[in-house]
């Protein structure tokens, strides 16, 4: 049927699987994000820390190049957990910035002009919708975090040979679990903010506000109680403690890491609760 016929007919062709239907939401949101050249450029820059890490590993195993550059031959020794811990932080920071840029419009754009009933009037549910939106952040953040982290780990294990990868399996575990945890927490938190705060700059401000106000509150609690329990209110410190424990390093607060896990789980569950409350096809006034 050609468009010039100005007519319409029912559809009788094949349909995509219902289970993967949420990926339509994801695909459109990712396409929307990359419609901005500025964002595309920034996204590419976010891989810089990982590329530097890759180069550093290559360099540390290239004796000729080390000699030419006049660098010490024992650069290899620097490739301890400390190197990977520092690199983890440099990967997590741009990931946070990407989430900060992309997430404010993920849900608010649909809520601003009442598009949500159109989504939910189709064969997708609220969990599908949230999954689709969360997958946007997971797909954008994964390559620059745990995927690159494991690639660097793999390169190091390959160049080092022997049982290095077995001796240092915690590094790979820390990259995978740590980054995925960070992605889940930050995705849910930013999506919840996006659902409740429709003005983009305000949503970004709210994210910073939540992180810094809670951190400030935690510091105050520490000061008043002369303990480290206030650190549990500090989201960044909590994820930091979790990651350090995954690397096998001591946590800065000295608190059992299970409490940091509880903080992260609580923030995630609260965010899901906020999403559940806001993401309704229509308001029900009780």
């Amino acid at each position: 049927m050609a468009v010039y016929e100005r007519t319409w007919k029912p559809y009788s062709g094949p349909l995509t699987p219902v289970r993967s239907r949420f990926l339509v939401v994801t695909r459109y949101a990712i396409a929307d994000a990359f419609a901005s050249r500025l964002f595309t450029a920034f996204y590419a820059i976010c891989f810089l820390p990982s590329l530097v890490g890759l180069f550093f590993i290559y360099l540390s195993h290239n004796v000729t190049l080390l000699e030419k550059l006049g660098m010490p031959m024992d650069l290899m020794n620097a490739l301890t957990s400390q190197f990977f811990m520092v690199l983890f932080g440099w990967q997590a920071l741009p990931a946070f910035l990407v989430a900060l840029i992309v997430s404010p419009s993920l849900i608010s754009a649909d809520l601003a002009n009442g598009a949500l009933p159109l989504y939910l009037g189709r064969p997708i549910d609220r969990p599908d919708y949230v999954l689709g939106k969360a997958a946007v952040l997971a797909i954008l953040l994964s390559p620059m975090t745990w995927v690159m982290g494991l690639t660097i780990f793999g390169l190091q294990a390959y160049l080092e040979g022997g049982s290095w990868w077995i001796d240092n399996y915690r590094i790979a575990l820390a990259y995978l679990v740590g980054h995925l945890t960070w992605i889940v927490v930050i995705s849910m938190l930013t999506l919840a903010i996006s659902a409740w705060v429709r003005f983009k700059p305000a949503a970004r401000g709210a994210l910073f506000g939540i992180i810094f106000i809670l951190a400030g509150f935690g510091t105050a609690v520490n000061g008043v109680t002369r303990t480290s329990w206030g650190d549990l209110f500090n989201l960044v410190r909590s994820i930091n403690s979790v990651v350090l424990s995954l690397f096998g390093a001591p946590t800065p607060s000295g608190l059992p890491v299970v409490f940091n896990w509880l903080t992260l789980i609580t923030v995630t569950l609260l965010s899901i609760g906020l999403l559940n409350r806001k993401l309704r096809a229509h308001e029900v006034i009780t």
């Binding site: 349909l15 995509t16 601003a112 009933p117 009037g121 009780t286």
Partner: protein, 316 residues
């Protein structure tokens, strides 16, 4: 036009449906079996029309009862049911930053169409509703009429079996309203899609629907087969008497007239097709009743609606 096939399931079947929102009953024990090709959903503001539509889409959970749409139950088959439905909401519903083609394509893909057919049908749907030339413009820049048309395009892009239109002519100027009604009639006449049109504009419903369900305070005040009504050729008569005459009302009832409204000197009645005004004058002459004013017209949806608003509930 009306489809009364015994083999096919009813387009919409309400099976004791009750919905409460915030602890307050909104819809109470709705029971109806609607087979019309185009079904009008009528009622005054707050009657529960939009709540019924939203419940049918699964936005609200039924407190008791169930809804079956083309044989699919809301309880247990909600996703499948929604896959067969196209929904055009009453209020603004769009993503402002998206072009019309992008937006309609997204909705088509969410309904399960693969990307290529979704794009192709989005072009077709937008041309069909008259937005072909504007399809690369952002929906946020559209006028009210164009936004209504985009809502219609996204509702029918995936070829639903039931199209739910909530106040489709809301905010439209007369030419745009005519265009919208023409499109609805065109969709109806193709005979492949059922329509459920919720509106408080009786004339719109009358012009496109062949069956009507009238809600009042969350109850079914009336269901009416408009097509049968038209065929019955009944007339609606308003009479003003010079003085109260109860015997005249009784005489009219004996003639087969159905009294809808009766006060001291004013009578509103439905006259069967085999009676004429002459019979009314004859009865008045026989009883010596003076008629000050008599107005006769075909039984319109307005009359049916008004009667439904006056009686409690039941079939008109």
């Amino acid at each position: 036009m009306i489809e009364h096939q015994t083999t096919s399931p009813p387009a919409i079947e309400l099976d004791g449906l009750s919905v409460s929102l915030g602890g307050r009953p909104i819809l109470t024990d709705l029971r109806a079996s609607l087979k019309g090709r185009a079904i009008g959903l009528l009622g005054p503001n707050g009657a529960g029309k939009t709540t019924l539509l939203r419940t049918m889409l699964g936005f609200y959970r039924p407190f008791i009862g169930d809804v079956n749409v083309l044989g699919l139950s809301l309880r247990g088959e909600a996703k499948q049911l929604r896959a067969n439905v196209g929904y055009m909401p009453e209020n603004d519903a769009f993503v402002a930053g998206m072009t019309a083609i992008h937006f309609v394509r997204l909705m088509a893909e969410l309904s399960g169409l693969p990307p290529e057919p979704a794009l192709e049908r989005s072009h077709e749907a937008l041309f069909y509703v008259g937005l072909g030339e504007a399809r690369y413009r952002k929906v946020g820049t559209f006028s009210t009429g164009m936004k209504q048309m985009v809502k219609l395009a996204q509702a029918l892009v995936h070829g639903p079996t039931l199209l739910m239109l909530d106040e489709p002519t809301n905010g439209l100027d007369p030419p745009a309203r005519k265009r919208m009604l023409d499109l609805i009639r065109d969709i109806r006449d193709r005979g492949e899609t059922h329509l459920l049109v919720s509106s408080h504009l009786l004339r719109d419903v009358e012009s496109v629907c062949d069956e009507v369900i009238i809600l009042k305070q969350g109850l079914i005040a009336a269901t009416c087969d408009l097509e049968a009504e038209r065929r019955a050729n009944r007339s609606f008569v308003e009479i003003e008497l010079q003085s109260p005459e109860p015997a005249f009302a009784e005489a009219l009832t004996e003639l087969g007239c159905e009294l809808a409204v009766q006060d001291t000197t004013r009578l509103k009645l439905v006259m069967p097709g085999d009676r004429s005004v002459r019979d009314l004058y004859t009865a008045a002459e026989r009883l010596g009743v003076g008629i000050r004013h008599l107005d006769i017209k075909r039984d319109s949806l307005q009359d049916i609606f008004l009667r439904a608003m006056e009686v409690n509930h039941g079939s008109v």
